[in-house]
């Protein structure tokens, strides 16, 4: 009996793996047909290019852009996500999946890795980077988890000759090594936060600040922007600088604690993202303090719905999908033979209030 069970279980495991890979293999056979045709052309082209390419891959940006950096006749794109769980990253990952599936289907690129799970963990992202290198990727899009600790991922990939496109937030050596950076100016987002509070609470008062994970570039720059606007105004006083790690529940706790401590003197809760500001606003509203102004950055679904329902004043929308669109364009342009005009593509932040919320609410 046990032998039979063992064999059955083994068969199941193999089958389950097969099932997972099954769809892919169908696609790849289709893709393979295309590539064989493509290969013949490319080998000709490659032969001409190889000599030049070898020396000049790194200089690709100058002359004609070379998309197939490793000369294997295939364009493979890697995608290292920040995580699969944050509401902000969900739509970005989804957009990437449909877009790259489309690009594979229409033959612009030969393959993509699927969404690799960065798990908001720098060492995991470094592992993913190595997997991309092993898979012979020509382009890799990465949404770094950490400015400092995820940097080796960018460094290793660019050392392997891969064109790295960094999206959403920078790592330390992004400016030097990446093909392009597509993101948004977080300092500007911070100033929008400060300005909203200033406009809606002209008489000033005490406010608390809920941080993202400390050390993350978005956290640092948004905080900087906020201070730039509010610090010159002496009527505003920051009474707490909370380590809330991008987390709504922690921000809600911070808000209720501050209400208990400062009572009516508390006028605002400024958050580095709007998972936190929406949670904080809900907590304030539940405590009968809907007068407290909570504001954050991102433009996630829940905060937008709260604005629509009049429960939340405003949020600063970061166009994540816009950033990804820009990154994809960098890659398709390179494949078409044009190097990116600029190493930085900036996508604007938008202040969303009840006046314009319908444009962004899906």
């Amino acid at each position: 009996m046990k032998k039979v069970l063992a064999v059955l279980l083994a068969a199941m495991m193999v089958l389950s793996l097969a099932a997972c890979g099954g769809k892919k293999s169908e696609e790849t056979t289709k893709a393979a047909e295309k590539t064989t045709a493509a290969k013949e052309e490319t080998t000709k082209a490659a032969e001409e290019k190889t000599t030049a390419a070898k020396d000049e891959t790194t200089k690709a940006a100058e002359g004609g852009a070379i998309a197939d950096v490793n000369n294997d006749g295939k364009i493979i794109v890697g995608y290292i996500s920040k995580n699969l769980t944050d509401p902000f990253h969900g739509p970005i990952n989804e957009y990437a999946k449909t877009t790259f599936d489309g690009l594979v289907a229409d033959g612009t690129i030969d393959e993509w890795t699927g969404i690799l799970d960065g798990n908001t963990d720098a060492p995991t992202q470094i592992n993913c980077a190595q997997d991309c290198i092993a898979k012979k990727c020509d382009f890799v899009i990465i949404l770094p988890a950490e400015a400092e600790a995820s940097d080796p991922a960018v460094v290793q990939m660019s050392e392997a000759g891969i064109n790295v496109v960094v999206v959403n937030s920078k790592t330390t050596s992004t400016d030097d090594l990446a093909l392009a950076y597509c993101g948004s100016d977080d300092v500007y987002a911070g100033t929008l936060l400060g300005q909203w509070v200033l406009d809606n609470c002209p008489e000033g008062g005490k406010y608390i600040h809920c941080n993202g994970i400390l050390g993350n570039s978005a956290q640092i720059q948004r905080t900087e922007g906020m201070h730039k606007v509010l610090d010159p105004h002496e009527e505003f006083e920051m009474v707490a600088d909370e380590d809330t790690q991008w987390k709504g529940d922690l921000a809600a706790n911070a808000a209720t604690n501050a209400i208990a401590k400062y009572g009516d003197e508390l006028v605002a809760v400024i958050c580095d993202n709007d998972d936190m500001s929406s949670a904080a606003q809900s907590a304030c509203n539940a405590a009968g303090r809907s007068d407290i102004i909570c504001v954050g950055v991102d433009g996630n679904q829940t905060p937008l719905e709260m604005i629509k329902a009049g429960e939340l004043g405003a949020t600063v929308l970061q166009d994540g999908v816009g950033q990804m669109t820009a990154a994809v364009k960098v890659i398709t342009d390179m494949v078409a033979g044009t190097a990116p005009a600029s190493k930085e593509v900036m996508v604007d932040f938008v202040l969303v209030t009840k006046d314009n919320v319908d444009e962004y609410l899906k």
Partner: protein
């Protein structure tokens, strides 16, 4: 295989037989996995990818060997993830911020994690507290210490430290692989060839009987948790070199993979059963799961479920092959 013969074999022989089957069964699963992944992605077996995998598993490897000791004594060590953070920031403060030699920074960092391991063991053995509770609380304390030491900021390491991960012995073998190999050999000798190893199994299997035959339960438990702390320290050095950064938020949740590797490797949560080669294979299997999922390109939203299912499937398959129940 000859699972039916289990009842006939007595005493030592049966134990030896079980250990052999333990190793044998898990390696069958490993081979199946390798073949399955390689069929879909031949690149899986390429030299670079194999080296990548072994380098990548080195951190979890260190943690799993320590975790295996803790589990064998009937406990668990949930502090390992936090240890990664605290050693990293200590190294950062010593090496980057105070200009001390790299070796000194590493030594102090590992000494601190070893001390935390000792405290774990002391609290568990001396006051007979539940290991889960002690290490869960210590996890908070240790991560808190990392936050205090670093002030919540990331501390960058220079090329000297990074070289410990990206550098290669004789220009061929990456240092983390060397470290993993050395630790495995030492653990193997300690666990299977010395009295200490026997005592650990004895305390985990039946503490009362072990005490009655003159083994100090207190000493053995303290030693196990101290070793776990020490190995977590080594893992932290590799981690610091890998990321080039010491920060308090690194290593969150790393205990999960360490427990998974131990359990896949045949370590029994009831205590008293473990083999080092088994754990090593468990470490490899966990590494294959991550690498395989990435190479095959499995739908993102399903990855977590598949990881969990493979772990359960592996343990069940191992049980079926071995013809015995692990608790």
């Amino acid at each position: 295989m000859a699972a039916k013969s289990e009842k006939k074999i007595l005493g030592m022989e049966r134990e030896t037989f079980r250990q052999f089957m333990g190793k044998y069964g898990i390696s069958v699963i490993m081979v199946i996995m390798i073949i399955a992944i390689a069929i879909y992605r031949p690149v899986f077996l390429s030299g670079t990818n194999i080296v990548n995998i072994i380098t990548q598993i080195s951190i979890n490897g260190m943690l799993a060997f320590g975790m295996c000791l803790a589990i064998t004594t009937g406990g668990i060590d949930l502090t390992v993830g936090a240890q990664l953070a605290v050693v990293g920031v200590i190294m950062g403060q010593m090496i980057t911020n105070n200009g001390m030699p790299i070796a000194v920074g590493i030594l102090i960092g590992v000494a601190v994690s070893t001390l935390f391991g000792f405290i774990n063991g002391f609290l568990i053995a001396r006051f007979n507290m539940f290991p889960f509770v002690v290490t869960l609380s210590m996890q908070l304390i240790i991560r808190g210490a990392a936050q205090v030491i670093s002030g919540g900021k990331a501390i960058t390491f220079g090329a000297g430290v990074k070289n410990l991960y990206y550098g290669k012995l004789f220009g061929v073998i990456p240092y983390p692989i060397v470290a993993l190999f050395v630790v495995f050999v030492i653990m193997y000798i300690m666990f299977h060839w010395t009295k200490l190893g026997r005592y650990i199994l004895a305390v985990g299997g039946n503490a009362n009987a072990a005490v009655a035959s003159g083994v100090s339960e207190f000493r053995i438990k303290v030693i196990c948790y101290t070793i776990s702390g020490f190995l977590a320290g080594i893992a932290a050095v590799i981690m610091a070199a890998k990321t080039g950064s010491g920060q308090s938020n690194l290593g969150v949740g790393y205990e999960t993979d360490a427990v998974a590797a131990s359990v896949i490797g045949g370590t029994s949560f009831a205590g008293g059963i473990a083999t080092m080669p088994g754990v090593l294979m468990g470490i490899f299997i966990v590494g294959f799961i991550y690498n395989g999922i990435n190479l095959i390109g499995i739908n993102a939203n399903w990855q977590s479920i598949i990881r969990g299912a493979i772990i359960i499937g592996t343990v069940m398959l191992d049980m079926a092959i071995n013809g015995r129940n692990r608790k």
